[in-house]
């Protein structure tokens, strides 16, 4: 718990405002959410919403794939492609996260959860693959 409080205080310095998208039933107003910086922070603030804190994913009517011990992460291009462009129900994060945030998160996942692909993914690596975001909401 103490760790969470310290983390939140550190993150509050970089709030990012997000306006509600057009269309759909939404809350209204804007939200300013602390901006995660390190790979661990980005994973905790974004990725684990679906992939779970242990990165093992989960299965119901469909499956959220495990990132833990996942050989598909051996090459950096595949995770960069998925994180920037999305895959199936997973949205692409271009325009939502910065290239640096995505690079940090991918590096973090590739070096944790039973993955040992030591070479860091850089902001430039992400920039090479990321397509500009498309407009629209629903």
């Amino acid at each position: 718990m103490r760790k969470i409080i310290v983390l939140t205080a550190a993150l509050l310095a970089f709030p990012a405002a997000a306006q509600s998208p057009a269309g759909g039933d939404t809350g209204g107003g804007i939200t300013r959410v602390p901006k995660p910086v390190t790979g661990e922070q980005v994973y905790g603030a974004v990725c684990q919403a679906c992939h779970m804190p242990d990165a093992k994913g989960a299965t119901g009517a469909g499956t959220i794939p495990a990132l833990a011990s996942n050989p598909k992460l051996a090459g950096a291009a595949y995770p960069i492609m998925v994180v920037t462009g999305g895959k199936g129900a997973m949205p692409g994060f271009v325009g939502i996260l910065s290239n640096a945030q995505m690079a940090e998160a991918i590096t973090y996942v590739r070096t944790h959860f039973g993955n040992a692909y030591a070479k860091p993914v850089t902001e430039a690596d992400v920039a090479k693959i990321a397509k500009p975001p498309s407009a629209g909401g629903h």
Partner: protein, 531 residues
């Protein structure tokens, strides 16, 4: 007026047009008469004359699937529905005391709300122009009550304006409008608009700014009874000796009211979908799902996890396993209406065209989070005079929404303690259910500092990214994906047609699911008759 010939009423006229020209002509006529442009609903599909013995498999017992089953059965088809959950309704859902909910990842919540209280994790409000849904609610006997969408007394909270303190919506809105009006009046009087606005219109504009922005005779937005009548009083008018009202004095300045939280909160209510009047079912949103389920009783196989949808010239075969026993089965039919959310559908073994498969995989889902908090008393009513409606905050929870029923009652009530989206939703979804409640209490306490924690009794949360049977809340089409894939997605793929909010332009609303369903089965029926 009375010429001896009785002119038809508008209703009689429209009814005659419908009989002669069908619903399309009716729609045309209604549009011409100026009162139908709010919906594409032209009445139930009234399909008739299915070939004897024709069968349809419907996948998913949400509203789209159940409506398809209901209308196709009326048309003469034999319909069977496969549903993954042990409950009909899909995202039309309410959680009540005694309910248990296990999300992906395994966290289980035992909902402890008092009798009669509920959280609607999915849909929770119905616009007055969602005519399809309102039509079937009436037909199936679902009682509706007003949903209090717009409450001038709700709080607007920005961490970066008004000293981080919540202010009343009416105060923030009044001061925004007052400041803008003053600024514009200043431009007019400084002749800055002389080139673009005629003298006559400048005079009218100044009059409007004074009236709309509550400006004084010098076109200033200043502390006055006029301004107070919009933003609130320091002492409102009363009776007797001290009856005279005292206007509020400390008007907020331009810098504060230009914080985007103010105008986005105001702008929220301008959206067509968010305009009053809105409705909710009496007793919880799932009253709608339950009423639909009654219409398709006996057709639904629950706990059926679909793994494969195959088709050939003769029919469709759906392979599924019983979630409880693991027993595998095949179900054969002539046609299939598939309402499975796209994120799940894209993971199945589907015999559809490559283009259809690409379309199914092209649409990401949003992941809203809702948190219901039961409070021991209605402090928002008793202490803050807030009866229904919303308070907006720029924190992760995004809003607090107050119950629209049982006002003035003693005893516990459930408020919506979060309707998070985007980054706020990811953060809350990534937490354990207990952590979510703690976050909702901490953030809600900023708006209701004295009572929020003190009156809290129990809570429940649904993070849609972890809902086992949807893997998300709603389809989020980008303009690009719409252009490339939408027509393929809604087109018939031989014997299979998709339906649901994802196959509509009213995404994330029950209305979109129903209109999509009507369109899908109308085309399916036509194709079946042609085959």
């Amino acid at each position: 007026m009375d010429s001896g010939v009785r002119a038809p009423t508008r209703r009689q006229l429209l009814s005659a047009i419908a009989k002669v020209g069908g619903t399309a002509a009716l729609y045309q006529a209604m549009t011409t008469l100026g009162h139908a442009a709010e919906t594409q609903f032209h009445g139930p599909p009234n399909l008739q004359g299915a070939r004897p013995g024709s069968t349809v498999i419907v996948l998913g017992a949400g509203l789209a699937g159940m409506l398809a089953a209901f209308e196709l059965t009326k048309a003469g088809y034999k319909v069977k529905i496969l549903e993954f959950q042990n409950r009909a309704g899909g995202r039309n859902w309410s959680l009540r005391g005694g309910d248990t909910y296990t999300e992906l990842g395994g966290a289980t919540q035992n909902v402890a709300f008092s009798q009669g209280n509920y959280l609607n994790p999915g849909p929770w409000r119905i616009p007055h122009h969602h005519r399809t849904l309102l039509h079937y609610c009436k037909q199936f006997g679902v009682a509706l009550e007003p949903f209090i969408q717009f409450n001038h007394s709700g709080w607007v909270h920005s961490s970066q304006a008004f000293g981080g303190k919540p202010v009343r919506f009416n105060t923030a809105a009044a001061d925004f409008e007052g400041n803008i009006a003053e600024l514009l009046a200043k431009s007019v009087n400084a002749k800055a608009l002389d080139d673009t606005v005629t003298q006559e219109d400048r005079d009218k504009l100044l009059e409007a700014l004074k009236g709309w922005g509550m400006l004084d005779n010098d076109y200033k937005y200043s502390a006055s009874l006029r301004a107070a009548s919009h933003r609130g009083f320091e002492r409102p008018g009363g009776g007797g000796v001290n009856g005279a009202p005292i206007p509020s004095k400390d008007l907020y300045g331009l810098h504060d009211v230009l914080d985007p939280q103010v105008w986005t909160s105001m702008g929220f209510f301008m959206n067509h979908e968010m305009q009053t009047t809105m409705f909710q079912p009496v007793g919880g949103m799932d009253m709608i799902g339950k009423a639909f389920a009654k219409q398709v009783e006996g057709m639904v196989t629950y706990g059926a996890k679909v793994s494969k949808i195959a088709q050939d010239d003769k029919g469709v075969t759906v392979s599924f396993t019983d979630v409880a026993t693991g027993k595998a089965s095949d179900l054969k039919g002539d046609w299939c209406v598939c309402t499975i959310p796209l994120g799940i559908l894209g993971q199945l073994d589907l015999q559809v065209t490559d283009e259809m498969m690409a379309a199914i995989k092209a649409v990401p889902y949003s992941g809203q989070v809702k948190i219901g908090l039961e409070m021991k008393r209605r402090f928002w009513e008793e202490d803050d005079f807030i009866y229904g409606g919303h308070s907006f905050t720029d924190q992760e929870i995004a809003l607090i929404s107050y119950p629209n029923n049982n006002m003035f009652k003693d005893g516990p009530a459930v408020l919506l303690g979060a309707f998070a989206r985007d980054m706020g939703a990811y953060r809350l979804a990534g937490m354990t259910p207990d952590q979510r409640i703690e976050a909702a209490l901490a953030q809600g306490s900023v708006l209701h500092p004295t009572s929020y924690r003190k009156e809290f009794a129990s809570g429940a949360s649904v993070a849609w990214s972890r809902v086992p049977w949807t893997l998300g809340c709603c389809a989020r089409w980008s303009d690009e994906a719409r252009k490339e894939h939408y027509q393929t997605l809604v087109g018939m793929d031989r014997r299979i047609v998709l339906a649901g909010e994802h196959a509509s332009y009213i995404g994330c609303w029950m209305e979109g699911a129903l209109l999509s369903s009507i369109d899908a089965i109308t085309r399916l029926h036509k194709r079946a008759l042609e085959a």
